[in-house]
Symmetry: C2
Subunit: 200 residues, 2 copies
């Protein structure tokens, strides 16, 4: 029971914080709650994190690591379009099943978040998957469009904005539009002559 000199660690604190983001109160991670979960008082955490924001960044990074684990599974699918569809599945499943984690990351979106670390790894994976479909290396435009669509869909779905009647095929409609456009080149620049059907 000699619980007094209880050694914490940054890793343990972050892990607990992630758990609380997912299962605790919806809005607002609190140091009190993290400390309580660890069987400790709030001020003790300041030995490991200078303030709340530093902890939040570590939590966001850890969550992106969890997302990356899921995203990496899609590399098993070699066909670009199949892989693209799997990426969509993984993205939406993560957002649906672990929405508090998902929304925490987006709410703590710094401009630098996707320039290094886990954020960059996730972003590179999205760019790579979209680029494989379009056949254009480093197709950032396709990745941005896809990301925006998935993010918007996930958040609107969660908020209940689609109402009781549901999204009515809006997800499939958008995906087919993107796939059709990506695989047929860049329509905005110069309509290619081969606008024939590109069915699988």
């Amino acid at each position: 029971m000699m619980a007094y000199p209880k050694f914490l660690s940054p890793e343990e604190i972050v892990k607990t914080a992630v758990h609380l983001v997912e299962h605790g109160d919806v809005d607002g991670l609190s140091l009190r709650a993290v400390a309580a979960k660890l069987g400790v008082k709030a001020p003790s955490l300041y030995r490991y994190f200078s303030d709340k924001e530093v902890l939040e960044n570590a939590v966001a990074e850890a969550i992106l690591g969890l997302m990356l684990i899921e995203f990496r599974k899609i590399s098993a699918f070699k066909n670009p379009e199949t892989r693209f569809r799997k990426m969509v599945e993984v993205y939406l499943r993560f957002a649906r099943e672990r929405f508090p984690l998902y929304t925490f990351v987006v709410q703590h979106n710094h401009p630098e978040r996707y320039a290094s670390g886990m954020g960059k790894a996730v972003w590179d994976l999205i760019v790579g998957t979209a680029s494989a479909v379009s056949g254009r290396p480093d197709d950032t435009a396709a990745a941005v469009a896809t990301w925006a669509f998935l993010h918007g869909y996930a958040t609107l779905e969660h908020s209940g904005a689609f109402g009781p009647s549901g999204p009515k095929g809006g997800l499939e409609r958008g995906l087919e539009a993107f796939l059709s456009s990506f695989r047929s080149g860049v329509p905005s620049a110069r309509q290619r002559n081969a606008v024939s059907e590109h069915q699988e």
Copy 2:
């Protein structure tokens, strides 16, 4: 100076609250702040709104009314694709220039929000505009896809997620994909024979 029996009204309170959402502190409208802005103390507001949530719903409705005013301007454009592009412009401009208002509405997205009132009016306008492009009456799927894309793009852009390099043409890429897909019918069901170009 006989300011004591100062008559408030629900309209005045909502108007003040909307102003504070737009120009006040980013997160969290507070009754205290609304009251202060009105030169009144917080408890006075309870004569007009039973609790904070009721006021919030009224505020969301008022903001949707502001959005509707902007959206209605696109009816001046008779060509379906032109009108669609104008709708995109209006949507993103509102989200960009009045982001606090925009995000307040989505954060208070009830499933019923778009079933009546201002929410329904806005939604009907989006559906109508998308349907005019696709030529299919009540094309909810196209509207949902468009909405998801625009909402995702607006929020990611605001959060700075696109980074210093910007969206890199992601907006245009997505829009062209949608327009191309919408005007050519439903690729998933049955390619229509008339896949000719529908340029202005």
